[in-house]
């Protein structure tokens, strides 16, 4: 209730500012103009197309990063030589922001989906690798020995002990990876997309001074991020680590 109040007050302040005429209406459009832009883009289906393109890129980049990052991270956590080989590479590549690669990827793969997906992949893979690595190392050795004494070997040990034990870390890795991916996809679309995508809409609207379209797309970006963060990952967390009673372990 209070939250709704404060949002309403903020919106009201914005509207007053927009109508005061201090700033050009083209730069600071009123709320009705933004709502109209959002509605017309929703009605003609173009916003859905843009959001679909963005989600497709995130899904592919994040899916790739999650799969490869999980495999590499667990391998590094359980096998010393892999850790010694990949850790220096990871720590050198990690501080390079994914968007710094954008011009290189554009040059190599052209404008469009491939470059965008690779940028998302680059951004999302590091949190995944690091968290899976930490998780695989944090498995309580007593569980491993107990399971071993009860006759678990190889694949059973891996799937029934190592993965559940590492799952809080893996899940928080996935969450961080999504946040990074969501930032990266918007930037990548501004730089590398050529026709569709929420980031591209914002950037393209700037050329025509369509601040209402920019703000409408911004609202959609915020809403999708919010839905994923709260609903998808919240539900995922409840269905897995909370049910297994592992959450305490993840957040000391």
């Amino acid at each position: 209730m209070k939250a709704a109040m404060s949002i309403a007050v903020a919106l009201l302040l914005y509207e007053v500012l927009a109508r005061s005429g201090v700033f050009a209406a083209a730069l600071v459009p009123g709320l009705p103009a933004i709502a109209r832009a959002l509605w017309s883009m929703l009605a003609d289906g173009s916003m859905l197309k843009h959001a679909g393109a963005t989600l497709y890129r995130v899904a592919l980049g994040l899916g790739l990063a999650a799969t490869l990052g999980l495999a590499l991270g667990v391998l590094m956590g359980r096998w010393r030589p892999a850790e010694r080989f990949f850790m220096p590479l990871v720590s050198v590549l990690m501080p390079i922001p994914s968007l710094a690669w954008a011009p290189v990827f554009i040059l190599w793969f052209g404008l469009g989906d491939v470059a965008t997906i690779l940028i998302v992949f680059y951004a999302a893979s590091f949190p995944m690798v690091l968290n899976a690595w930490t998780g695989a190392r944090a498995v309580n050795p007593i569980w491993l020995r107990a399971a071993g004494a009860m006759g678990a070997r190889g694949a059973a040990l891996f799937w029934k002990v190592v993965v559940p034990a590492a799952s809080p870390f893996i899940l928080s890795g996935l969450r961080q990876a999504f946040q990074r991916a969501w930032i990266a996809v918007v930037g990548a679309e501004m730089l590398a997309a050529s026709d569709y995508g929420l980031g591209w809409v914002i950037f393209d609207a700037k050329e025509f001074l369509n601040a209402d379209v920019m703000l409408a797309a911004l609202a959609v970006i915020g809403a999708i991020g919010f839905v994923f963060e709260r609903l998808v990952f919240g539900a995922l967390e409840r269905a897995t680590v909370q049910r297994w009673g592992m959450l305490r372990l993840a957040r000391p």
Partner: protein
């Protein structure tokens, strides 16, 4: 006895880079890709040396660092101020918290074109954007830090006769410090990740992001890779000189995570 093992560790650390470098070199020399697009490491190194010697690369790097410093300083000052305000005043909290929690998860770059429209291309827009984006983790962590200061410390200090000011300076601030430092660390990392992209979009005259983006127009792949190498070096230096010492100082020392 020491020396051989140190050499061995060095060789072990260099091995991954040698392997990746050899693969790169093999692909570059195989002639499958045009050398303009896929230069050999030797060329990248030569370009890096040439650009460094002529002062171009250091100039770009200095401008990028200045922007990072300005944006981060803005984020730190505003973030800590807002965070403290929210934690100390109930009404400020209920007014600001919903806005901050809506604003924080929106990718900062989505604001970039708006900021450029409002504040123009160049330094003002990009520094403000970096500061704005980096302020969110600082705000949230400062707020959490002050809110989670142990009640018993406050009461103990009050019983011992600490006034409002002393309570704030000697109990609340030190108690919240680990959280505030964590927020600063996250904010700096956020600022760094976004700055390079902002430089590409904002058409600033100097800056590593602009160097890379501009070099694309001329198919100057070796200059782009030299710029990325410089970005990697700065990022690594930030990691070693800022993030890791801060982490050691805060979470490890306070016993929140074992080293």
């Amino acid at each position: 006895m020491q020396a051989p093992s140190r050499w061995r560790a060095l060789a072990g650390g260099a091995l991954p880079f040698v392997v990746v470098g050899a693969i790169w070199e093999g692909v570059a020399r195989s002639g499958r890709f045009p050398p303009r697009l896929f230069p050999t490491l030797e060329e990248v190194a030569r370009t890096f040396g040439r650009l460094t010697a002529s002062g171009i690369l250091p100039h770009h790097a200095a401008e990028t660092l200045a922007r990072l410093g300005a944006g981060f300083a803005l984020a730190a000052l505003a973030g800590i101020a807002v965070g403290l305000l929210m934690a100390r005043s109930r009404s400020a909290e209920s007014a600001l918290l919903p806005l901050v929690s809506i604003g924080a998860p929106v990718p900062g770059l989505a604001y970039a074109p708006l900021f450029l429209l409002w504040f123009g291309l160049g330094n003002v827009g990009s520094v403000l954007l970096v500061g704005f984006v980096a302020a969110f983790p600082v705000i949230l962590n400062t707020w959490t830090g002050v809110k989670t200061v142990k009640e018993i410390w406050l009461r103990a200090a009050q019983v011992m006769g600490a006034g409002e000011r002393r309570l704030f300076r000697q109990v609340i601030l030190p108690g919240a410090l680990p959280h505030i430092l964590t927020g600063l660390r996250l904010g700096l990392a956020q600022a760094w990740r976004i700055l390079v992209a902002v430089e590409m979009l904002a058409a600033v005259p100097w800056g590593l992001g602009w160097l890379i983006f501009g070099a694309r127009e001329f198919l100057d792949t070796d200059a782009m890779l030299a710029g990325i190498a410089m970005i990697g070096l700065i990022g690594l230096a930030l990691e070693k000189l800022a993030f890791q010492p801060l982490e050691r100082y805060t979470v490890v020392r306070w016993g929140m995570v074992s080293a």
